[in-house]
Each structure stands twice: as structure tokens, then as C-alpha cells.
Symmetry: C2
Subunit: 372 residues, 2 copies
Amino acid sequence: MSQEESFYIVPPEQHKQLVHDAYLARGYNSSEAEAAAAMCGNASHHGIRTHNALKALHLDELFGSGSGGCVPDAQIEVIESKFKAVQTWNAHRKLGQAVAMEAMNTCIELADEYGVGIVAVDNAFHYLWGGGYVIDAAKKGYIAYTNCTSTLSEVVPFGGKYPTLGTNPHSWGFPTCDAVGYPVVLDWATSTIAMGRVQQLKREGKELPPNAAIDANGKMTTDPNQVAALLPFGAHKGYGLCLLNELYGAVIGGSLPTLRGRADEAKAAGEKSTTAFYFQVIHPDALSGRDFSKNRSQAENITAVIKDVLGHGNENCMLPGTIEANNAKRSVKAGGLLFSAAELEEFAQLAEECKIDPALWSPQNLPLFTEA
Amino acid sequence: MSQEESFYIVPPEQHKQLVHDAYLARGYNSSEAEAAAAMCGNASHHGIRTHNALKALHLDELFGSGSGGCVPDAQIEVIESKFKAVQTWNAHRKLGQAVAMEAMNTCIELADEYGVGIVAVDNAFHYLWGGGYVIDAAKKGYIAYTNCTSTLSEVVPFGGKYPTLGTNPHSWGFPTCDAVGYPVVLDWATSTIAMGRVQQLKREGKELPPNAAIDANGKMTTDPNQVAALLPFGAHKGYGLCLLNELYGAVIGGSLPTLRGRADEAKAAGEKSTTAFYFQVIHPDALSGRDFSKNRSQAENITAVIKDVLGHGNENCMLPGTIEANNAKRSVKAGGLLFSAAELEEFAQLAEECKIDPALWSPQNLPLFTEA
């Protein structure tokens, strides 16, 4: 969180109620509204300001129930299959958060029996924040992974000129609570930076980092006003990881990336415009060779390895997931979710729409958060 | 391949015989020697000069049968488990290539039944080239993945000073032969560059790329003579991917990364010094939502997606795996494996050791390769 901004503490129940009601008002059923509220709250609890309730509802307006990309009250169809540890679902454009939560739970059930469980989802709608699902599974003791195709194609293939790839994120969660008190979580887009960050830098009159974006002529630019498309992180390696999601999507049922999230154009071309999800959970017992040094348990062995990695002068290094865990700690300490004044203003508007007293969301009526 | 060097064409059978005999001479049994020869030949066929037979035998001398890190004729022990789609093996330090080939085949068998198959391997020895195993599986029509912990810890955690991580590679293979004539293959270490590349740049008096290495004081350096440790590619994202292999290794049975590959120190500390492997195969049918646009088959859908990614002005972009595929095409065209004069000299020495006529490996007696 930026040090320049002030944050106000919102009771989790108040946030949950508003998000729930906002989804109900858009026609979603109560279990969908609950899933949405839970995942939005989870994101804010972990300090994920780019993927909070405001972003979720904005996505719904742009691509979701507002335009037919998401269908309230849709039913998940499990595709018949002879493969016992893998399921593929047709989500029929059901709300992403509800589908993703159920998919991860099904992966866990499959992993309990087979050691690994996979759920692939076709005809999906944005699941908001992949990190949330793998954090939950990792806290339950599992190794979890998800990827998805992003709604829009904003990323240029390595050496290319035109954005034909999504910002395609990957999220891994590892059961390291015993070792370090929280799950190790890798959770990032395969673009160097997000398009939202470009817009933020534009507002602030700041430059982009190098190798993050190109202009309309396909030339590298650090000027946010000239950005036409994003570049993958880490040159050809990040490009490969970005492409991976497109290939998973293609195998599952996604169609042309450049038409994804563009319902009208896709329809005119006879193509689908939906995204695809991939979820995977592994039971760590299934991977144990039961031959740990010094008779350590598996959990003790993970602790020893992490201690070695962060030893020898590396004590100040962070683990992937440390930032999210520290944010969560702060939320617990604050006793609520932290939002800026600008965010509260948007929530107040939303409250008005949902016939909830907007004064509840006024900074005057909420405690200011101060780091003790 | 460098344009400055000349390459000579070695008949695959001649290469196979020599590598096979070299492994037999080191005490390996004939099926191990065959696996080693097959994978070394596969690497050279795909133009992987950094992981050919010479590297494999060098590794064996440094860390393998020469020092007890690899045990000829060891038997794989399958750990008893209730999980049906995942197996964990104790390789008892059996030759990595033989273990990896068998592991990938077992993953395929499991995937045929369960949709996904995983084999984790504890007490493993270097499998040389992860790309080879996923290329083979992808050519058979499967989605394949492997990672392993690298023998030595040469990589510094993001923001750190001391190398506590392996160069830990990831390899993914996708069944895209119908779409583009070869598998899409992501196959790279999580360090920006390899230590072998640093040594090469030192010999050539050239600079490193930026953000690739640090000196003894933990400062970024581009001088190959000052390199004390390598940096992960792509800042915190590549660091996370590098750490991932350490966590898989920790779950499977690997001990402290800084003692890996250092048998004596590890023994003195009561720790293991072996690496760990992770293999995974998915049957693409298991992921199919059977709802492809325009009634395309799954393979046709993959083709359409790749065409879209490499369209719109991106026609000159490569796919991950293009270089390996082009090298393989060239080997086929040449009718043999391509080696430089310096490499042939090393092979000739090896031939002498194996009581094979070294003249067979003399550049004078082998056809020079010329690009038609």
C-alpha cells in the first residue's frame, strides 16, 4: 500500500453485505452473490487493491451480466468423461468466483482420492483473483495451481507487434503455513506490468519501467501515453508462460484470443468469446518419498529448505506470498478491510444503488487506520 | 548454432555406440547405457549443445558414478501409496536418463486411465535435458511437464546475496504437431543465463547481459570474471519459479539446496545431497469441453489459436520450441548429428578410452555440414 494514502477500516460484514447485495441487484442468485462477496473480501483482506470488489463489479458491467458475458444463475455442466482424476466443466458463463471456488473444492476431493485432481472449465467468466483460490487450498494443506486466459488480448508475443495474448496469469500456492506461517504464493500476470498500472502511471505523469510496453509502431516505449500493447515479462521465457495459458485454453475450448471478451465481434465471426480456467491440486502426501534427512517430517523438511534458501546472508529476502501475508496480518490487526477515501466514495455510490445508507461508507464514520 | 563454427555429420549409430560403451565402461548396465545414449542423441538431434553426451559424461565424472552421486545398476523402488494417479519413486541414485524415461512412460500410462499422471522421484541423479522427455510425450499427443532441482546452488534469491537456489529448470511440452508440425516446448533454467554461458563469455572476453549475475559483494556485474552467483530471470517472478522447484524437492525428499551435489559436506551434516524430479502428463481428451467454435476438433482449435497469436503482424515471431524443431529438421536433412571440431576431439578421446578407433571421430573422416 502506498504510504501517501490514508486508509479507513471497514467491518468485513459491512463489506460482505454490500457486495452481496450488489450482485443480487445484478440478478445473481444468493450463492453466487455469497461467493463473489467472499472472494472480493478475501482479496481486500490480502491487500489486493487491483482485484477488489470495485474491480469485480466493474468487470461485470463491462463484460459480464451487463453485456451477456456472464449469466446469472447459470448451471455448471460436468462433461461426461472416462478420466477419473480430471473433470471438465461447461460453466455456461456462470459467475467466475462461484465456479472457481467449486472447482478448487472438487480438485481437493479428487486429490484426496487420486493424489492429484484437475478441473478444467470452458465457457467461463473472469474469476477475479487466482491467488485467492490457491491461498485457500494451500492453507488447507494442498499444493494448488490455477491459470486462466485473460479477458482481453493486450500482450504482444516476444518479437511481435500486435497484442494477441492475454495478460494470462499463473497462481501457485504451497502448504508452507507450518514452515513460515503462511502459504508461499506465486501470483502474477505474464505481462511485465498490467494495463491498469499503465493508466495509473499516466495519471501520475510517471514513466513505465523498460521492456514493459510498445507503441503503435511496435517500438519499445516507457511513455504511458504512447502505450499500444504490453510486453511479456522476462523476454522469451515469460512469452512462453503467457502462451501456455492460450494453449490450455485452446485444449479446453477457448477460441481466438483476439476475439476473447469481444462478444459482438466474436459472434459475427462465429467464434466464442469466453475465457477458460485450469485448476489443479496435489495432495503433498502423494509426493512424499518418506526419506527425509535427519528423520524430519515432510513439513519440517520444507521448513529446513526454506531456512536454507533464506539463510547465508539472504535473511532480508522475501518469499513469494510474504506481501499478501503481511497485508492479511494488518487487516487482522485493524479488525477490518482497508480502503482509501477514493475507494470509499465508489462504495458509497454502490450503497446508494443497493438502497444501503451511503453514510456507512463515509470516511467521517469509519476509523482511520494507523500503523502501530 | 554459431555461424562461425563448422559442423561435421556423425552417423547417429556411431554416436549411440560410443555413448553406450562409455556408460558401460563406467559400470552402468546395458538398459541404463541405452537410455543414456538415446537421450544424449536426442539432445544433439535437437541442437542442444549445452546438454549433449559430453556434458552428460562430464556430470557423471564430477557428481555421478565417479563420486558416488549416481549408482550404476540401482533399482527403482516404488513407494507404497493409496493415491492412484500419483507415484513416488526412490531412485536410489540410479542414472537420471533411465529413471526419467521410465517416469514419463509411467505418467503416460496413468494419464491414459486417470486423465493425469504424476511421478515424483526422490534420491535422483541429473536427467540431463528436461526438454527431451516433454518433447517425446508431446509427440505422442500428451501435455507434459517436468521440473527438477539442479545439482548445485548457483542462484541468489531475488534481493539476496548468496546462492542458495539451483538454476532449477522447467520444461513444458504441448501436443501441437498437427498445428505447427512440432511440439511447443518451453524448456529453460530459471537463472537469466547458465554458469556455462558465463564461462563461455569469459573465454571470449565478452560482457554478460544486465541483471544476470552478481559479484562477491552481492553487486550486479556484467564482467564474467567477477561473477560469484547468478540471478533469477524476470526479477521476483523468475525467483518464484526457481523457488518452486526447491519446494517440490522439499516435499518429495530433497534436503538443503546449498548442500546438494556436495556429497561430502552433506554427509558430514547428516543431510542428503541428491536431487528430486517431478513429472506430470495430462491426456488432452480429459481437458476437452467438447464445445469448440465452428465445430473444430480439439487439434483444429489449437491450430486456430496459434494462427491467431502469430497473425496480425506477428508472423515472424517464433513459438517456444521452434529452435529445437528447426535444429531437428537440420539433423534429419544432414542425415546425422552435428558436432564441432572441438567436440569431435573430445569424442575421439572418449573413443580411445572405450577402445573404439578414434579415427572414426576425426573431422577428416566425417562429412562437413553445409546449409543447402
